[in-house]
């Protein structure tokens, strides 16, 4: 039956479209935005979104990455509020003197709950993480 055959093709194309949109979520945050979710989710807070661009306008990389000891790794610094209040990491500036203090919880803790630690729009995210996602989806499909 010709009509039936055609319907199958349409179905396949639509399934492909659904798969495409399901695997690739639409997030277009600013390049370099870092989501940090080491502890936040577990402790009932929204994950932190660190806007690199905003800080880059005000400070050179050296200030945070050499002087304050931030490693070049998302989530690699294991920052928690105790360290910040102690004047380490973000707390070196976010102390009410150089920048606003820690009472503005939800200006940092502003991410969508459940968002994993990542550097947004990084090539690593686009290539490695997404390929891993695709492979996982492929394996799931093969397992069915």
């Amino acid at each position: 039956m010709k009509v039936e055959k055609y319907l199958h093709i349409v179905c396949l194309a639509m399934a492909a479209a659904i798969g495409y949109f399901a695997v690739l979520p639409a997030a277009h945050a600013e390049y370099g935005d870092v989501v940090i979710n080491n502890y936040a989710d577990k402790r009932g807070m929204r994950p932190v979104v660190f806007p690199h661009w905003f800080h880059r306008v005000r400070f050179r990389c050296k200030v945070c990455h050499a002087d304050l000891g931030f490693k070049f790794k998302a989530g690699g610094n294991e920052i928690d509020m105790a360290k910040i209040i102690d004047g380490k990491f973000c707390g070196a500036c976010h102390n009410g003197e150089i920048a606003w203090s820690v009472e503005n919880c939800n200006m940092c803790h502003s991410g969508i709950p459940g968002t994993p630690t990542q550097i947004h729009e990084s090539t690593q995210q686009k290539l490695v993480d997404r390929v891993n996602e695709l492979n996982k989806a492929r394996q799931l499909e093969a397992g069915k």
């Binding site: 319907l7 661009w53 690593q124």
Partner: protein
């Protein structure tokens, strides 16, 4: 007959999902054509998703309320400055990354970020030394400018952990960079990313003698020949 009913059911569900997608995106295309014209996913075709994944973003500098990472239900999100307020009129615009050329912005004096946390007048220790890295392919050679990098960074950021400060000691490849190593520790995360529009920012020195593919010898051809 059962098959036909199942097919129609599936079609109905797919149609509903595609229609929902359409409403969410505010597209004017009708549902069936949107379904057919969408690129097939890599899971369907088995094609390597490499190039497809590195395409440039459609929109740059979205405000936090719409960027898909910030929670619009969070009060603090509305208080954050949208990047376009600051970055949108920096010229020349780029098509990748933040849509701006940070080094150029510094040179033009659009920004004067602090070099010391508490001292607005501290002057960076800039080293002007270009490193010429020959490239064994048809790509132009790489000129690494220390000047632009030391305007932002400290020597200890790169040396010796990422780059051994010795000629010929660092093997660098585009694969390593794309995977976040070597130059990729910053480029592709925060500094300008690896896209087809940015290649020549690093690969900037045309070769003195035009590149020629090495002619394979009989022995080499034998070892690389496919069965």
């Amino acid at each position: 007959m059962n098959k036909l009913i199942a097919t129609l059911l599936l079609l109905g569900i797919s149609g509903a999902v595609v229609a929902a997608e359409k409403t969410a995106k505010g597209s004017t295309a009708d549902a069936p054509s949107a379904g057919i014209s969408a690129p097939p996913s890599a899971t369907q075709t088995g094609v390597g998703p490499f190039n497809r994944l590195l395409k440039k973003p459609k929109q740059l500098n979205l405000p936090p309320m719409e960027d898909g990472i910030h929670d619009p239900a969070n009060e603090g999100t509305a208080m954050l400055q949208p990047p376009a307020e600051v970055l949108a009129d920096w010229q020349p615009r780029r098509t990748a990354g933040n849509g701006v050329n940070w080094v150029e912005a510094l040179r033009q004096g659009k920004i004067n970020p602090r070099y010391e946390r508490t001292d607005p007048d501290a002057v960076p220790i800039v080293m002007d030394l270009n490193i010429h890295r020959p490239v064994r392919s048809a790509m132009p050679d790489v000129i690494f400018p220390h000047k632009q990098h030391t305007e932002w960074l400290d020597c200890s950021n790169c040396h010796p952990a990422i780059f051994i400060p010795q000629k010929g000691a660092n093997q660098i490849s585009m694969s390593a960079i794309l995977l976040g190593q070597k130059c990729g520790v910053c480029h592709g995360k925060v500094a300008f990313p690896i896209t087809l529009t940015e290649c020549k920012r690093c690969h900037s020195k045309e070769k003195d003698t035009p590149y020629k593919d090495p002619v394979p010898t009989a022995a080499a051809a034998k070892t690389t020949a496919r069965p």
